[in-house]
């Protein structure tokens, strides 16, 4: 019998078999492999088999039976292999997803990964996903984030882009977070802001799904008995999937996914896969949220600790300064009397020393030095006084006007001009008027080095939160910030006694009342002082 198929030949050439093409050359000399892999599906072989069957040979029908069964088994094996391949991909995807979700405590990263996984082609391949989260008080379920195209053109563009850049899930999520998160949030803002459902509203389909802890596939949403038509209109689709996110019985949120562009049917298998996926997502979101809250608490504790430390340092400093105050007061008093005697007798002698007497210069020096030392003593004793302030509510503008009036002569002597811009409707400040007034006068009159034109001083008052601010902009003086800081430091070793002790004293007096005095050196513009006076008793 002449056979159409080449199964009976040991060696064939390319073109002898319609099913053997370039690349299959190794089959040309292997009849066994050729029969098993190619002949079974070859029309020539099938015809040979039919001829053999019709030849009346008793084995003819048996061969046909075996051939059909072989083909059926082959198709079955191929479908099993295909199923295995898809499951391998799924496992690989879940592994990838799981490793990201398990390792991240960054809420935005977790959300980016979750939503990307739902919408990515190599993930669940849904067109669009919305994430709703329970609020901090756990009162409401609210729209939080969404991902997906809003129309076909956009979808086409995005999917093209993704197909050109063959990225794994983590890279896709990172890319989304870095480049698209804000834009997507803004894009779906109109929808997200309208989704806010009280968790107590158990008739709402979202809360029903959340309480039921099971995904719900909503079909024909516009006519669905459990779905509010307004909600369906808001989403703009009639079929969507609700996937509750529940972690350890805690209602974390909800994912709504749909195929608003392709309208691909959501299958039971999709639902099953997504349900498996939501468990780690819910857990990761919950963990990331907790971590975020923990960070907030940690920041609060750190901030409180810093404040406490500052307060503690301030207390220690104040205690040291109070001690220094008591000591200096005592010393000052002991020095005052002899100094008075020295200065007093020197003056007496000066009166009785005729002009031209060479001793007169020496005596004048004694008088001058004694006067300067008395000035220093006054400052030190003022500091001691400042340890026990008496506070009340005072008009700050009146305080400034009084200080300016009392400083007018001193400012005139130095050739200074001043302006005052009084803030309107200022609340009363809770201060020791006498002490703050002293400080203000000292700042206005302080005798710093570096005086020069323009000799102007601009003062203004205004309100800032719970304080009334007095700002003094002295355009006539300039000192480097470091030098200014040193001058503001009470009794610092580098300080020239007498010349600027007043500023350090002011800082001490004000700090003791809980009033910060800030002195800032502004290059080529002078020195700016800021005093923040409290308006409430409890702020001190």
């Amino acid at each position: 019998m002449d056979w159409e198929c080449c199964w009976d030949r040991d060696v064939i050439a390319l073109g002898d078999c319609p099913n053997i093409h370039e690349g299959d050359e190794d089959l040309l000399e292997s009849p066994r492999r050729r029969i098993l892999e190619k002949c079974c599906d070859c029309s020539n072989f099938r015809r040979d088999l039919e001829r053999f069957q019709s030849s009346g040979h008793p084995l003819g029908p048996v061969f046909s039976l075996i051939h059909d069964e072989y083909r059926r088994q082959k198709i079955h094996i191929q479908s099993l292999l295909s199923f295995l391949d898809s499951k391998s991909l799924e496992i690989r995807f879940f592994h990838e997803l799981g490793s990201v979700l398990q390792s991240s405590v960054d809420l935005e990263e977790v959300l980016s990964v979750a939503l990307t996984a739902i919408t990515a082609g190599r993930g669940f391949g849904m067109n669009r996903a919305f994430l709703l989260m329970t609020d901090h008080k756990r009162d409401h379920l609210q729209g939080y984030l969404a991902i997906g195209p809003r129309n076909f053109e956009e979808a086409h563009q995005v999917w093209d882009e993704i197909s050109h850049n063959d990225m794994d899930l983590q890279t896709l999520a990172q890319n989304f977070r870095k480049n698209k998160l804000s834009a997507e949030r803004a894009k779906f803002h109109d929808i997200l802001e309208q989704i806010s459902v009280p968790l107590s509203n158990t008739t709402h389909i979202l809360i029903k799904a959340l309480d039921g802890k099971q995904p719900i596939l909503i079909e024909d949403a516009y006519h669905h008995p459990d779905v509010d038509p307004d909600f369906a209109r808001l989403l703009g689709v009639d079929t969507f999937l609700l996937m509750p996110l529940v972690s350890r019985n805690r209602r974390v949120g909800m994912i709504i996914a749909d195929n608003c562009i392709t309208h691909r049917r959501i299958t039971a298998e999709d639902m099953h896969s997504l349900e498996t996926f939501t468990f780690p997502v819910a857990f990761a979101i919950e963990r990331a949220s907790l971590y975020e809250r923990l960070q907030e608490e940690l920041n609060r504790v750190t901030e409180a600790h810093t404040k406490l430390k500052e307060q503690q340092e301030l207390i220690v400093r104040m205690e040291k300064m109070a001690l220094v105050g008591r000591i200096t007061s005592s010393i000052a008093h002991s020095i005052r009397n002899p100094l008075m005697v020295i200065g007093g007798f020197a003056r007496s002698m000066l009166k009785n020393t005729p002009d031209g007497d060479p001793k007169r210069n020496f005596i004048e020096s004694i008088v001058g030095e004694a006067r300067q030392l008395e000035g220093v003593l006054d400052e030190i004793l003022n500091y001691s006084d400042s340890l026990y302030p008496t506070r009340d509510f005072w008009d700050v503008n009146q305080l400034v006007e009084t200080a300016l009036r009392e400083s007018a002569a001193a400012l005139r002597t130095r050739g200074y001009g001043s302006t005052f811009s009084a803030g309107s409707e200022l609340p009363l400040a809770y201060i020791d008027f006498k002490q703050v007034s002293y400080c203000l006068r000292t700042i206005l009159q302080c005798d710093l080095n570096g005086i020069g034109p323009p000799r102007t001083m601009d003062i203004d008052t205004h309100r800032e939160a719970d304080t009334v601010i007095i700002r003094i902009r002295d355009h006539g003086r300039y000192l480097p910030q470091e030098e200014l800081d040193t001058i503001m430091m009470p009794f610092s070793s580098t300080q020239v006694m007498g010349a600027s002790l007043g500023l350090a004293l002011c800082k001490t007096i004000l700090e003791k009342q809980g009033i910060p005095l800030n002195a800032q050196s502004v290059p080529e513009d002078g020195i700016f002082f800021t005093i923040a006076l409290p308006i409430r008793k409890e702020d001190q």
Binding site: A332, G343, R347, S348, L381, N382, S384
Partner: protein
């Protein structure tokens, strides 16, 4: 010539006051403490007293209260190393308050002012 009583526990300060105030034309009598001051007051009348507040273990304020009670016609000027007593209510009983200084101009002005006021009062028959 007005008679002044100066009370201060520091001998040199008493000497300074005596010299300087005598130059201004006052008759100056000094005392080192409360007991001595009371003694001098019993010996004769004074037109004005200048008191230090811190007198070793005594208080010039106590002496002031005694003088206001017993010699209400004699004005008193407090002279102290501390400015804080200016705000002390008990110091307000005095007719004047001067912070100690080697420059006695302020004290001299205050003495002149208080004595002039006293003269005015006497003239008015108060």
């Amino acid at each position: 010539m007005s008679r002044l009583l100066v009370v201060d526990d520091e001998a040199n300060i008493r000497l300074l006051y005596a010299e300087e105030l005598a130059d201004e034309g006052y008759e100056v009598v000094t005392a080192a403490g409360t007991a001595e001051a009371v003694e001098k007051l019993q010996e004769g009348a004074f037109d004005l007293a200048v008191l230090d507040i811190k007198l070793k273990n005594e208080s010039g304020i106590d002496l002031l209260q005694k003088l206001v009670k017993e010699r209400h016609d004699m004005p008193v000027i407090l002279c102290s190393a501390f400015s804080c007593y200016k705000d002390d209510f008990s110091a307000w009983l005095a007719d004047g308050y001067v912070v100690k200084s080697g420059d006695l101009s302020e004290l001299k002005q205050e003495i002149a002012r208080v004595l002039a006021k006293k003269a005015q009062r006497q003239k008015a028959g108060l």
